[in-house]
Symmetry: C2
Subunit: 251 residues, 2 copies
DNA sequence: GCTAACCCGGACTCTCGGTAACAGGAACAT
DNA sequence: ATGTTCCTGTTACCGAGAGTCCGGGTTAGC
């Protein structure tokens, strides 16, 4: 049974193909022939990759964080080996999934990338979104951290981890504000990863064993701590910021 | 070739065996016969497990974080399948390694369990020990993160176990001081897990990509942040502590 | 000498990642 | 109408690593 869309056979052709010159009589032998039979498939590979990533997300939801490529292929309604036409590797599929998750969580954390209101309000919004997402997509989170092979020898910087994805964006935001205040930008990444670890670690522990601490209390603690760390970084550069005064817009 | 100690054959027998009553004539039929041939092997299994864990640590150091059980067995001077006589599972071996690592780190972090001097000095000692250990045993750390096989039912993974071990000790220390100041003890665990996550996350990222930040700079940032968080927790209860005044001894 | 424990490794199975070879279908070209 | 091109898909096969089974060896206590 085919759970994916049946492919290009039923799709309207993209109208933007560049075959206006197709009647030109003499293409150089080395140049690729602009044959409509080839142009028809423009973008098909990326489309299919997206579909497989969709199936992978469903498979993770269905089978937990330990899905095999077999199960992902099954969820896509396709023989396992078909995957290797679109992904060089299991790691390649993995990377594509991580990219997608990065997109999803980035969208969720919009209030952090474009802070509105006071620093404390922005922090509270981001923490709320973060803890909510983490508790709702725990399997996906575990799947990614488990399979993050972090390219030991390959030197690929494309470390694909949810935390990395979040922290990268956070790094950019911090770098922006640090630069705005004329401070050393190098600490931004350390702050970002530290904060992500702080929030993730205490939240996941709290989920397992609340010990009488309410969700609001937890959120309150985290918000204050995050502010303290950010504040400390600013003060180290001689800048003081009022946590309850509106922030300059990032634009 | 045999890299491990050759086993009990060449070892002096432990003198503390409890066989003083071995001449007693009538053991119950259900009870195990106290045969010297059985008593000779007391503790042998645990000894061997330790030896294999030793070999695993050496194998990680030799082959990097991607060692196979095959390579661990080779380092132990033994056929791979021999491992399964002492470990039910690859995950079991994994867990044993994680336990050992937790012991090593706990020993390294002694200054945190028994703080001396001022708060900042104690924090600096603990952070220094932590970052030093992690930068010296990066492969081991990576090994644990990569092979976190989280036996889906238990949800356990090796790194979490280590972090939990550290955070538990830290929780006890914090509870002690919070109680000393007459504050609410419930936050101690949240603080402990948060701090562990904060330090671990930023340090591991720094390991992979230092970005021109030196180890001392990193340690300095972390020390200040940790203090800020601890200080915030105290202030929330109306207690102010001088970070540079000597701390009362934990005894 | 006998036997209870340990010691050992080799052969086997199972699962999973990955490759190779092969067959069919839809649209374009002629 | 027929062949070409590119995708679609499958099955068979290989290698690596995990885990099991089994037969045989060694030593110290009986």
């Amino acid at each position: 049974m085919y759970l994916l869309s049946p492919g290009p056979y039923t799709r309207a052709r993209r109208p933007d193909r560049l075959t206006a010159m197709s009647s030109s009589p003499a293409p150089s032998p080395a140049a690729r022939r602009t044959d409509g039979r080839a142009a028809r498939w423009a973008g098909q590979r990326e489309r299919r990759r997206r579909e497989f990533v969709d199936a992978a997300l469903r498979a993770v939801a269905a089978h937990g964080p330990e899905v095999s490529t077999e199960q992902i292929a099954e969820e896509a309604g396709v023989a396992r080996t078909r995957l290797y036409k679109y992904f060089t590797d299991a790691a390649d599929l993995q990377a594509a999934i991580a990219d997608r998750v990065a997109e999803l969580i980035t969208a969720e954390l919009a209030p952090a990338w474009n802070p509105h209101g006071t620093p404390m309000q922005a922090i509270a919004a981001a923490i709320g979104a973060h803890t909510t997402w983490l508790s709702e997509h725990g399997d996906l989170y575990r799947y990614l951290t488990m399979h993050s092979l972090s390219a030991q020898a390959g030197g690929r910087d494309a470390v694909t981890d949810v935390k990395t994805a979040i922290a990268r964006n956070l790094t950019a935001v911090f770098e922006h504000y640090l630069a705005l205040f004329g401070l050393d930008v190098r600490a931004a990444e350390t702050v970002a990863f530290g904060l992500v670890g702080l929030v993730e670690s205490s939240t996941s522990r709290w989920l397992e064993n609340p010990r009488g601490v309410s969700r609001d209390e937890l959120a309150g603690l985290l918000e204050r701590w995050v502010w303290r760390i950010f504040d400390d970084t600013l003060r180290a550069g001689g800048v003081e910021l009022d946590p309850d005064a509106p922030l300059p817009a990032p634009g």
